[in-house]
Amino acid sequence: MSVTDRWADNPFFVLELSVAASRAEVERAGQKWLDMLAVGIGRAAIYMTPLGARARTPELVRSATAALRDPERRVVHELWYLDHAPTPPDDDDVVDVDDGDIGFDAMTPLGWARP
């Protein structure tokens, strides 16, 4: 998963919750979005992030709900949500990591070993 995806798929964005959301609010939001997607309510199909609109899918909602159920995983997402601002795309010194290509994490299985 690219850095951009990791940021934009943050469960708090997907479920439209604040980091202060209780466990009950997480479950409620997950159920609501899944049900809205199931009956085809148009506004449920998109969520907003600082990087623009993204498609909300049932898989993403389930995954987000599961992530926020687990306190250890939730704290990481809270940190990303609060602090991990995306890399400015116009910064000349920064490699573009968009588009969900196979990514650097996958280079090791491809045969690459760090020097």
């Binding site: 850095v3 940190l79 990303w80 090791t108």
Partner: protein, 824 residues
């Protein structure tokens, strides 16, 4: 007959057990166990076919298990997922494990009909938490054969946790479900927080069960018979099968009797015949003390699994709120005492360990909205609504979502309001949106079924009839989507695993990755097949995971030849029951391949097993000699476990050579587990090297994070570094590797930001370009890469570098180990 169910929803849950099965129903308020035609809660998972082809199931079949073993089959659950058909000699028939399981499921389905007057079409069926994909697929197949049109599979520990959570007033905290069935052991760590149930983790042993208690008694009896009668009975000899079956039957009865008596005489159903001696009837007295000494090592084996689970989740056993026992063997007093004493936690009272799983499955059927009542005649009154809401939920304030899908059958509503039938709540009127949809928040009364009436009005405030006119939501403990029990990924040519779904992923789930082929596939060639092996397990090396299916792209099915390095967009999808489908799109061919071959547990060939056993024994001997030479006592302890498991494999292999397929499967899996354990021993032997790797990794990652990382990455790196220290102190190789992987990911994320990263990787790939599988293409990529570098187009350089790497050669031995994978 349970007539109270009339007019209420009917949710069916089935515990399809190795030894016994049970069915429960849930009406939204309470669960009931459905008794079979003999009035019993449990139906033996036994099928008999007589000479005329007549099939009997359950207790009636169970009576023939010892007298007529050639025509009576039990414990076929252990063979689910294999393609082995079991013969019934008198009739000449043979049935696969799913066909046999279907007979049991059909009998349970008929019991529901007899008791409730409804033949259910849907159900939730429980499966062991550590079932693999082929075993789950076989269970779903059995359900379809039994006449169920829609089923969901649910891990047994979750089912029992749901039932335990539903029926008791429980406080918050972590608790353990200790589930010992006839053939499998599962342990789950659960947490209740604000009434919400969460599976923290689970572990288990796919081949430890109450049946092993019976076999321990049988082995004791065989030794006593040899000592006192001079007759040697062998479990692996086909000619001794009848004698062994009689001893096992007696052992099962003795085990139950010893929970009340201090000693019992093993009651053999008939004299023993071995072919080598006259029939004889030995008097075997088993004391409770002897029985306990036989089974305690098995109980301790289960406790080691519990402790591993607790350690993995940093939970102190003494801090557990309670232990819930599930499964027939857990009524054994010595087991309860030992588990409670070692873990030091209270045991939950008042729960029936024999039927808890079925009850939980029935409760889950409600969560999954699997009402088993057949649909009545379609009578529409008013505007038809499509409603989505949780049939069961923990949340006291859920939403009801709906949409008018047919406004032609009456006036169209403009507002919707929900009012609880007990008068305790009435929602605001919500205006339908442009899609004729609405979302209404409702309030539930706790721990009961909440019936609501839907009040719809038109623009003039006149009440409009809607269909359905109301809905019911049950408030109580539940769990959301069923979690995946084992991680699933694709074996790559490098013997690494590309992880698609991590253990615990909520189901259903779907994920796609792009792979590259490592060799060409010639169109029309019968021998040319590209394999994409799908594996299941928690290791990052493919050969240590189980192969559960292979997606094949054969030469005869492609529209033109496929060159090496071609892209394959692979999508794996799992439904709520854990059934998998795979889809490979090959853009170069514009073709899709969906046929997953060999979704079966691999056959346990005894010659292969014997060779593997010999290899692993030699490996243990070598490691032991090495450990003595270098004075490494911790390795000797680990090797003791491996040796004990190898002894078990030896015994199972003997039984497999005598025709026992189940033992062969157990031997196959245990060998894989021993192989993985010895890998860890090998790694711990190289501890000094690991120490160096720790230093090297942390230095490199620390450097990257210091120069290029964010503040938060620095904080996360400190956490990981502490975890590395802990793992190093505990000499926990697996955890250490996991933490080092996390550290590497952090470092590599930071390294992304370094403008020199891709030029460095490009140069390295360029230096090996002479060995590329497609040299002209590689040379073109090198030219394109240099141009991209010159114009400082790092995005393009990255894409080119990845393509170049895919053309570099693979290690043939790694490919063989990785189930002959044809993809990177």
């Amino acid at each position: 007959m349970l007539t109270t169910m009339t007019g209420r929803p009917l949710y069916v849950g089935i515990d399809l057990g190795t030894t016994n099965s049970a069915v429960a129903v849930f009406d939204g308020g309470v669960t009931h166990i459905v008794r079979n035609s003999e009035g019993a809660n449990l139906t033996p998972s036994v099928v008999r076919v007589d000479a005329k082809g007549r099939v009997t199931v359950g207790t009636a079949a169970r009576r023939f298990l010892e007298r007529d073993p050639d025509n009576t089959r039990s414990e076929f659950k252990r063979l689910m997922g294999t393609d082995r058909a079991l013969p019934f000699r008198a009739s000449g028939m043979a049935m696969t494990p799913p066909e046999l399981a279907a007979k049991v499921l059909a009998a349970l389905r008929a019991d529901v009909h007899d008791q409730l007057g409804v033949l259910p079409d849907t159900a939730v069926i429980s499966v062991p938490a550590l079932f693999e994909l082929p075993q789950s697929a076989a269970t779903a197949e059995a359900a379809a054969l039994a006449g169920f049109t829609r089923v969901e599979l649910l891990p047994e520990p979750i089912a029992s946790a749901l039932a335990a959570g539903w029926t008791a007033e429980q406080g918050d905290g972590r608790w353990l479900v200790y589930d010992l069935g006839g053939g499998t052991f599962d342990v789950s760590l659960l947490e209740t927080d604000d009434g919400f149930l969460r599976v923290v983790g689970h572990d288990g042993d796919n081949f430890l069960g109450g049946r092993d208690f019976d076999w321990a008694v049988v082995d004791w009896a065989i030794a006593a018979i040899e000592r006192e009668h001079g007759v040697r009975i062998r479990r692996d000899a086909p000619e001794h099968a009848a004698a062994v079956a009689r001893l096992k039957h007696a052992a099962e009865e003795a085990k139950v009797a010893l929970s009340r008596a201090g000693e019992v005489v093993l009651a053999l159903p008939a004299p023993l015949e071995t072919g080598d001696s006259d029939p004889f009837d030995p008097e075997l007295v088993l004391t409770r003390e002897t029985f306990e000494s036989l089974v305690l090592p098995l109980v301790d084996r289960s406790l080691a699994v519990c402790e591993r689970l607790l350690r993995e989740h940093a939970t102190a056993a003494a801090g557990l709120a309670r232990i819930v026992f599930v499964g027939g063997p857990t009524v054994t007093p010595v087991l309860r005492e030992r588990v409670a004493a070692v873990l030091g936690a209270p045991v939950a009272d008042g729960l029936d360990p024999m039927t808890l799983v079925a009850q939980g499955a029935a409760i889950h059927a409600a969560t999954a909205a699997l009402d088993a009542r057949p649909a009545g005649p379609l009578v529409r009154r008013g505007a038809r609504l499509w409603l989505q809401f949780p049939a069961v939920c923990t949340d006291l304030s859920p939403h009801v979502v709906g949409r008018v899908v047919d406004g032609n059958s009456g006036p169209m509503p403009t507002t919707i309001r929900l009012q609880r039938d007990d008068g305790g709540y009435r929602s605001d009127a919500v205006r339908l949106d442009d899609d004729h949809a609405f979302v209404v928040a409702v309030e539930l009364a706790p721990r009961q079924a909440n019936a609501f009436t839907i009040v719809a009005e038109d623009g003039a405030g006149v009440t409009v009839t809607v269909d359905p006119p109301g809905l019911t939501i049950v408030q109580g403990m539940t769990i959301g989507d069923p979690p995946l029990s084992r991680s699933i990924g694709v074996a790559l040519v490098s013997d690494h695993v590309q992880l698609y779904f991590e253990r615990g992923t909520p189901l259903p789930a779907r994920r796609s990755f792009t792979h590259a082929t490592i060799e060409s596939v010639a169109r029309g060639s019968a021998d040319s097949v590209l394999k994409i092996p799908i594996v299941q397990g928690e290791h990052d090396r493919a050969h240590l995971c189980r192969l559960v299916g292979t997606l094949e792209i054969p030469g005869h099915a492609i529209s033109r030849s496929l060159p090496a390095g071609s892209e394959i967009e692979l999508t794996l999808e799992l439904d709520r029951g854990g059934r998998m489908s795979a889809r490979a799109l090959v853009p170069a061919l514009d073709q899709v391949f969906e046929h997953v071959a060999h979704l079966l547990v691999p056959a346990a060939d005894t010659e292969v097993l014997a060779a593997s056993l010999a290899t692993l024994r030699q490996r243990v001997d070598d490691l032991r000699a090495d450990a003595f030479r270098h004075g490494m006592p911790h390795i000797l302890i680990a090797l003791e476990h491996a040796e004990r498991d190898l002894a078990d494999v030896g015994r199972d292999l003997g039984a497999a050579q005598g025709g026992n397929d189940d033992a062969g499967q157990r031997a196959r899996r245990t060998l894989i587990e021993i192989d993985a354990a010895l890998d860890e021993v090998e790694q711990s032997k190289q501890w000094p090297e690991l120490e160096q790797r720790i230093v090297r990794t942390l230095t490199w990652v620390g450097g990257q994070i210091a120069h290029l990382g964010t503040e938060r990455e620095r904080s996360l790196f400190e956490d990981v570094a502490r975890a590395v220290d802990r793992a190093r102190t505990e000499r926990n190789v697996r955890e250490l590797q996991r933490q080092l992987r996390l550290a590497n990911q952090l470092g590599e994320t930071a390294w992304y930001r370094d403008p020199d990263t891709w030029p460095t990787l490009f140069d390295e790939a360029t230096s090996r370009v002479d060995s590329a599988s497609d040299l002209p293409r590689a040379q073109t990529l090198v030219r394109e890469g240099r141009a991209a570098r010159d114009r400082e187009d790092m995005g393009e350089l990255r894409k080119i570098t990845e393509k170049l790497w895919r053309l570099l050669p693979h290690d043939p031995s790694a490919r063989r180990a990785s189930y002959d994978s044809g993809v990177r």
